[in-house]
């Protein structure tokens, strides 16, 4: 039973330590990602789904094909890849560590078998003296030198760039670090948005991820003091800018200008300029005529909450509410309140499209006070326009995983550089007696870039030769 269990875990270990699996997973991820760029995701999915049959939509939905990068099975594939990466790295690490610690005996004869002619040359002199100078030169070139004097000759072994062996682990670790950062971000962070009109403030934002529009309290409030948009002469946008104030308990704690590419962070939550738009503002222009039929009319601007005297001074009037499209069908409207010095307050809506409304709706409807622009005699009010104001659309984000992701980015660049552009280079040199002269043989090996190693050995031999020629 025990051995059976051991065998099974061996099989699992074997599967996850295979590079075939890695390549298969990399290709599968690539193919799935392709599908994700062809099938519209998230926001784009609605429109696409309308062109499909209901059955197909249900099928797509059940497989989470409209949000596949966040689906369970996509995460499972990523998890499999991570597991594969960990197991492969662990397995390889043991081998690499052995290679890293290995100190081959300097007097091995194998490196010197089949040595090309140019790696062999003869010099004059005493063997100990020549060996000493070879050793001295090698110490300048390589990190560590091992020596061994034998009957067959004096042997030297030098190496450099041992750490190059670990580059690949730095790369693999960096991928895991980035994934870890992404997990932390999705667990502890949030992405949301909020629209704030000029002069108004918000203390809650709408979360993006959830299907039901869940809200989140910020714990402070943000006020949009001003929004500006500039255009080039050609009409393309030049700059979007929101001037924001961050407030708590009614006190302004921070002010900042938000631009695209220049986010503002307050208490760990970052705000990004994302969109903008216009909404009906508080200022309206009204046409007021006294005595119906009389040509004498007056156009005046009035702000919500700021009463003005009536033209005939019978009392005061005020705009109570402004609406861009009342009841979703009646168009721009303003609620007027008139407070005469004698008598009761009168309230009624005035509409911008009054004439067309009269055609669309029964006439009796406009006899009631609340919809009658002539409800306060002898005046008639008309709504000329509502002056609009800007709102700024902010992307609100908190992501504690970002520092890890940045660290992963740094590591992956370092790791790739170490892996591909440095190498573990080993050199063997033999100094031996040969027919009354001294023969020097040079051999070397590198874990990658053999061409570069050959070049280095050529250079090495050349320098050694120079060392003995200058003496003569």
């Amino acid at each position: 039973m025990k051995s059976n269990l051991g065998k099974r875990s061996d099989i699992i270990w074997d599967i996850f330590s295979s590079v075939k699996l890695t390549m298969a997973l990399l290709i599968i991820l690539a193919v799935i990602s392709i599908a994700g760029t062809v099938i519209p995701q998230r926001e784009g999915a609605m429109e696409f789904a309308q062109r499909l049959s209901p059955g197909l939509v249900r099928f797509f939905n059940s497989l989470q094909l409209f949000d596949m990068y966040h689906s369970l099975w996509f995460r499972v594939i990523i998890a499999l890849l991570s597991l594969n990466l960990i197991v492969c790295s662990l397995k390889r690490f043991q081998v690499t560590l052995k290679l890293f610690q290995a100190l081959p005996r300097p007097d091995r004869s194998k490196p010197f078998e089949n040595l090309p002619l140019q790696r062999n040359f003869q010099v004059e002199g005493e063997i100990q003296e020549v060996s000493g100078r070879v050793a001295e030169y090698m110490r300048g070139q390589y990190k560590k030198i091992e020596e061994k004097d034998t009957k067959k000759g004096n042997f030297f072994y030098g190496y450099k760039g041992r750490y190059s062996l670990f580059g690949v682990f730095v790369v693999h670790l960096s991928v895991l670090t980035i994934l870890m950062g992404a997990i932390i971000g999705s667990l502890l962070g949030f992405e949301a948005y909020v629209n704030i009109a000029e002069g108004e403030s918000a203390d809650t934002v709408t979360l993006q991820k959830s299907r039901v529009h869940a809200h989140k309290k910020l714990g402070f409030s943000v006020r949009c003091e001003k929004f500006t948009v500039n255009f080039y002469d050609t009409g393309t946008p030049k700059e979007y800018r929101s001037d924001l104030s961050f407030m708590d308990d009614g006190r302004v704690l921070k002010k900042g200008s938000l631009l695209v590419n220049h986010p503002v962070t307050f208490r760990g939550i970052t705000f990004y300029q994302s969109s903008y738009g216009t909404i009906p503002g508080d200022r309206v222009r009204l046409i007021v005529s006294r005595h119906p039929g009389e040509p004498k009319t007056k156009t005046l601007g009035i702000e919500r909450g700021h009463p003005l005297p009536l033209p005939g001074n019978e009392g005061q009037f005020e705009v109570m509410e402004v609406h861009g499209n009342l009841k979703g069908m009646m168009g721009p409207a303003a609620l007027i309140s008139i407070k005469p010095y004698q008598g009761k307050e009168v309230r009624f809506w005035v509409f911008k499209n009054f004439e067309s409304l009269q055609e669309r709706f029964p006439k009796e409807m406009f006899q009631s006070t609340i919809l009658n622009p002539s409800a306060f005699k002898p005046y008639t009010f008309y709504l000329k326009e509502i002056q609009s104001k800007y709102y700024t659309g902010l992307h609100v984000n908190k992501d504690p995983g970002v520092p890890l992701v940045w660290m992963g980015f740094f590591m992956i660049v370092m790791g790739l550089f170490i892996t591909f552009f440095t190498s573990h280079r080993r050199v063997w040199v033999r100094v031996s007696k040969d027919q009354g002269k001294i023969r020097i043989s040079v051999s070397g090996k590198a874990n990658k870039n053999p061409v570069g190693m050959e070049r280095e050995l050529d250079h090495f031999v050349h320098k050694l030769e120079d060392l003995f020629i200058t003496e003569r």
């Binding site: 290709i27 690539a30 393309t236 590419n261 986010p263 980015f409 660049v413």
Partner: protein, 281 residues
């Protein structure tokens, strides 16, 4: 049309002429043609560099100064420049001109597409707010040098596949002049390594930039996703060579698939909606 665009449209023809000379060298086997080809390519890249710098200066003269790396026209011009720059470096290092026949057409096509396609606007346009960032230059330069390295690897892989038709008893000069398969395999791999490092840097700079512009370092925008796909394909290729010891034909085909992904990341993505829309015209 501004002067820089006029100069750059002439450079297009120079690349075609240099391609013709490389081809003549390969067919006739005369080294002189090869030397002329290299000379013309050097003249062309000098003019090309001048044209890019002039465009930069002209953008400041009309008051919307920015590095000429902001739309499809400018990126194509820069892409052709990086290909030729990397090619000349390789030619100089390997002392072999036969690769010119396979690489200069890439630069010529990119330049011709930029200068003569009716859908591409060569005028200097002001930067939209999203592009106003110091990351623009780092992002575009790393990406396009990466693309160019992959392009060269693609060229070497094609040469490898062509070279397979060469047999000792055959006397086709064109095939004889192509370097040994081993050298091509090695060069192709080295270019993929360089390209992979640069693509990684390109994705990273783009990601850091996206974090400050859009508030998220990764949003699965089609261009992001396709650059990841390209990255995955080349990662698989590197593993296949380093761990499984794949060489030769299989790797050449891998490199060609990889470069098709690069091209789709560059052009194909424009047909899918996304955040990178400013790179479309």
């Amino acid at each position: 049309m501004m002067i820089n665009a006029v100069i750059l449209s002439y450079i297009t023809f120079l690349y075609f002429v240099s391609f013709m000379f490389y081809l003549l060298m390969m067919v006739m086997g005369k080294d002189l043609f090869g030397r002329v080809a290299t000379f013309i390519t050097l003249v062309a890249i000098t003019g090309h560099t001048f044209g890019i710098i002039l465009r930069w200066i002209e953008s400041y003269q009309i008051g919307i100064g920015h590095a000429p790396l902001s739309n499809l026209y400018e990126s194509l011009i820069f892409f052709a420049w990086t290909i030729i720059f990397l090619y000349l470096l390789t030619e100089w290092r390997t002392k072999n001109r036969s690769m010119g026949t396979f690489v200069t057409p890439l630069a010529f096509l990119a330049m011709a597409y930029a200068s003569y396609s009716p859908g591409i606007n060569s005028s200097i346009q002001p930067l939209v707010p999203a592009l106003k960032s110091n990351w623009l230059i780092a992002h575009v330069i790393t990406c396009f040098f990466g693309y160019a390295a992959f392009g060269l690897s693609f060229g070497f892989s094609l040469m490898y596949l062509v070279k397979r038709f060469d047999q000792p008893e055959k006397k086709t000069l064109f095939l004889k002049l192509i370097p040994r398969s081993g050298i091509l395999d090695d060069l192709s791999y080295q270019m993929v390594v360089i390209g992979f490092l640069l693509l990684t840097l390109g994705i990273i700079t783009g990601s850091v930039w996206a974090h400050s512009a859009w508030g998220s370092y990764w949003s699965w925008d089609p261009k992001e996703t396709w650059s990841l796909i390209t990255w995955l394909v080349y990662a698989a290729m590197l593993h296949s060579r380093m761990i499984r010891g794949w060489r030769g034909k299989r790797l050449a085909i891998f490199s060609i698939i990889g470069f098709s992904c690069v091209l789709f990341t560059y052009f194909g993505v424009n047909y899918l909606a996304g955040l990178h829309s400013y790179a479309q015209s």
